[in-house]
């Protein structure tokens, strides 16, 4: 179920300016209010967009998180490819069906 809370955090960062403000000002307190594993926390803090992709985060949510960190579009796309190389195929969620790549 943890993927749910990773996605929820990012969804709320996308949609709720108050959450974004807390993310800027008091990050750890905000993160503590979500049910996240250590690996997920690492991926969010770094941010490791590739790992988040491998953890199953939906691109329609993830792209906004990359934008929040001012990561250019082409780098965002490349991070996902690199993520699969480094961390292995997408583990769960939508993209797990084809390991995150076209068959």
């Amino acid at each position: 179920m943890s993927l749910y809370y990773v996605q929820k955090l990012i969804y709320e960062l996308n949609r709720n300016p108050d959450t974004t403000k807390r993310f800027e000002e008091n990050r750890e307190a905000l993160l503590a209010s979500y049910d996240l594993t250590d690996e997920e926390l690492t991926a969010i803090r770094k941010p490791d967009i590739g790992l988040l992709y491998v953890l199953g985060v939906n691109g329609q949510i993830l792209m906004h998180y990359a934008a929040l960190w001012k990561i250019p579009w082409d780098d965002y796309l490349k991070s996902m490819e690199d993520g699969v190389k480094e961390h292995g195929p997408v583990r769960t969620g939508l993209y797990a069906r084809t390991e995150g790549k076209l068959s």
């Binding site: 929820k8 969804y11 939906n58 329609q60 796309l77 993209y95 084809t98 790549k101 076209l102």
Partner: protein
């Protein structure tokens, strides 16, 4: 008998946001086709426009993910995206809560829709409106089919949903136009972004144009995902329009695969067979 127009079209954010990066000839054809649809809606005398869309985590999330949702507000706002990025100015779009409620009451006999008295449009609705109702002078009723977060609604339910919307339109004394907006094949926000499966698109469009119910409902999510990407799940919006016009035929006005817009850009209409 007050459904007066039906059609379907693309909504990719690149169409407005990266307008100049598309091939000029292809873009010209696309814009002319949107405009043809705008004029067709206008000359139909439609007093309200139902947009059957598939949003991208703008209003709906897995904490309460509706299979089907219908807006029931007197106004909406959109786009939620950065105006520069999408190339569309944020506006207040008129709605009609009473008309929505009438429709919802009827649809609820067949399809278990959620309703929403507030709704912020993302590009999934704002891009079509930008071309089809550029003056925002017609009441819009937004509709969402969950095409993002599985478990997804079965395709035959999407077809039934269209039939039910049609039933509602035809029993209400207001002239209503319907458009569906989605896919077809695309891989948004993934490493495969920009890829387009023309074969998949053309086969699907052919089934749409002939309103071939059996063919339209024959896709499994597995097949769709493998051949048409996550974006392919949005065929549900087209299938709903086919359902609304069961037994009639359509016409393809535009199909331009534009990699820089990350989708095969499509505009099609569907005849209305008055029963």
């Amino acid at each position: 008998m007050t459904l007066v127009f039906a059609g379907a079209c693309s909504h990719a954010p690149g169409i407005t946001g990266r307008a100049n990066r598309g091939d000029p000839e292809q873009r010209k054809n696309l814009l002319e086709s949107y405009d043809k649809m705008r004029l067709a809606i206008k000359s139909s005398g439609a007093e309200a426009l139902i947009v059957i869309a598939a949003e991208h985590f703008a209003n709906f999330f897995m904490n309460n993910m509706p299979a089907y949702c219908i807006g029931m507000a007197d106004y909406y706002e959109g786009p939620i995206e950065d105006e520069e990025w999408l190339g569309i100015k944020r506006v207040k779009v008129p709605g009609n809560s009473e008309l929505s409620e009438e429709i919802i009451q009827i649809v609820m006999n067949d399809i278990d829709v959620s309703y929403a008295q507030e709704w912020k449009f993302d590009h999934g609705i704002s891009v079509p409106l930008n071309f089809l109702t550029p003056n925002y002078d017609i009441d819009v009723i937004p509709v969402n089919i969950n095409c993002q977060g599985p478990p997804l609604t079965p395709l035959n339910r999407a077809y039934e949903f269209g039939k039910s919307i049609r039933k509602a339109c035809d029993s209400i004394n207001t002239k209503i136009a319907i458009i569906g907006t989605g896919g077809i094949s695309h891989w948004p926000c993934t490493p495969d972004s920009g890829k387009i499966n023309e074969d998949f698109d053309k086969t699907f469009l052919n089934s749409f144009i002939f309103n071939d119910k059996k063919a339209l409902l024959s896709y499994s999510d597995k097949e769709t995902y493998e051949k048409a990407g996550q974006g392919g799940f949005e065929i549900r919006t087209w299938i709903a329009v086919a359902g609304a016009c069961e037994g009639s035929k359509g016409e393809l006005w535009c199909y331009e695969p534009i990699p820089n817009y990350a989708v095969g850009c499509t505009v099609a209409n569907m005849e209305i067979n008055y029963k």
